[in-house]
């Protein structure tokens, strides 16, 4: 690494901060993207299940079971 002079620490800290902020933004964007995709998949899957329900509609809809 080239000689950064007496104040090397501050230069490194500054560049570290830049790296941190950039990686932080990239990470935020990717994590958010993945979580939205997951929620979308779950919701669409639930919606499809409702339109073509595999199992017969649960008994509860007809009337409340008396304990």
């Amino acid at each position: 690494m080239i000689d950064l002079g007496p104040h090397a620490l501050f230069i490194q800290l500054a560049w570290a901060a830049a790296g941190l902020v950039t990686l932080g933004l990239i990470a935020w964007v990717m994590i958010d993207y993945r979580s939205q995709r997951r929620q979308l998949a779950a919701l669409e899957q639930a919606a499809n299940a409702r339109r073509r329900p595999a199992a017969p509609t649960p008994a509860v809809l007809e009337g409340a079971g008396v304990p």
Binding site: L4, F10, I11, A14, W15, L25, L40
Partner: protein, 245 residues
């Protein structure tokens, strides 16, 4: 590709899927070149020595912090005036990125100031204005975090952004006036010496690289925001469908 074509979210998502990697690669390339030049080619400053290398992050992040606010102002106009459907998506996506770069500008400014002025923070006119800009950004983000309905939040944030845009020059002027009025201890102007070309070229490359990074991040954040709204509408539909159950 007129702006109107991008109005349709699905077409925008297709555009984004193509544009984000390109912008990302462009940003990575330019920043790599810029960093190399900044550390191995550019000379040290005759006064500040090596600390001038912080310039290569400080100036681009300051520039991006302000450019991002311009993007938000245009988006605000898009929301209120041209009623562009994706304008408030662009505005909400830009705010955190702008705030992050403004914060980076302040942090790098403080780290640069420490060796030069002996203190992390000086109420220098430009640094103070940047700090106020950060406050405006955080206020806008807080606004989005309190209003649930995206449409209403978008319009409210648009009005606040436009009011902010009108006030920034006034704030800038009054902070400068406030700063010179009290004549603090002698402060080396942040700009430093007239920019010599050997320092200027890496700076420009870094700036363009950072802009490409901003474009990539902004498009991705917009894509996320569009998906977030789809999740919201699907949830409302799920509830309505639930009603008939």
């Amino acid at each position: 590709m007129a702006l109107i074509d991008l109005a349709n979210p699905t077409r925008f998502l297709a555009f984004a899927r193509a544009a984000i990697p390109i912008a990302g690669v462009l940003a990575a390339g330019l920043l790599a070149v810029g960093i190399y030049l900044a550390f191995f080619v550019a000379p040290e400053d005759y006064q500040q020595g090596a600390t001038v290398r912080i310039l290569y992050i400080h100036v681009p992040s300051a520039w991006l912090g302000m450019a991002c606010y311009v993007v938000m102002t245009l988006s605000a106009l898009g929301t209120l005036v041209w009623k562009h459907p994706l304008a408030d998506v662009s505005q909400k996506a830009a705010a955190p990125i702008g705030a992050a770069f403004t914060l980076l500008c302040l942090v790098t400014g403080a780290l640069w100031g420490r060796p030069m002025w002996g203190t992390y923070w000086v109420w220098d006119a430009r640094l103070t204005s940047t700090l106020v800009l950060l406050l405006i950004y955080l206020g806008l983000i807080a606004l989005w975090r309190t209003v649930e309905d995206p449409g209403r939040a978008g319009r409210a944030a648009a009005v606040l952004t436009l009011v902010g845009a009108v006030n920034i020059p006034i704030i800038k002027f009054s902070v400068d006036w406030w700063n010179t009025l009290h004549q603090p201890t002698s402060v080396i102007r942040l700009g430093g010496p007239t920019i010599h070309s050997s320092i200027l070229t890496p700076l420009l490359i870094m700036a363009i690289g950072a802009t490409a990074l901003f474009v990539a991040l902004h498009l991705s954040a917009m894509r996320n925001e569009i998906l977030r709204r789809r999740v919201r509408t699907l949830r409302i539909l799920a509830a309505q469908r639930g009603a008939t159950a």
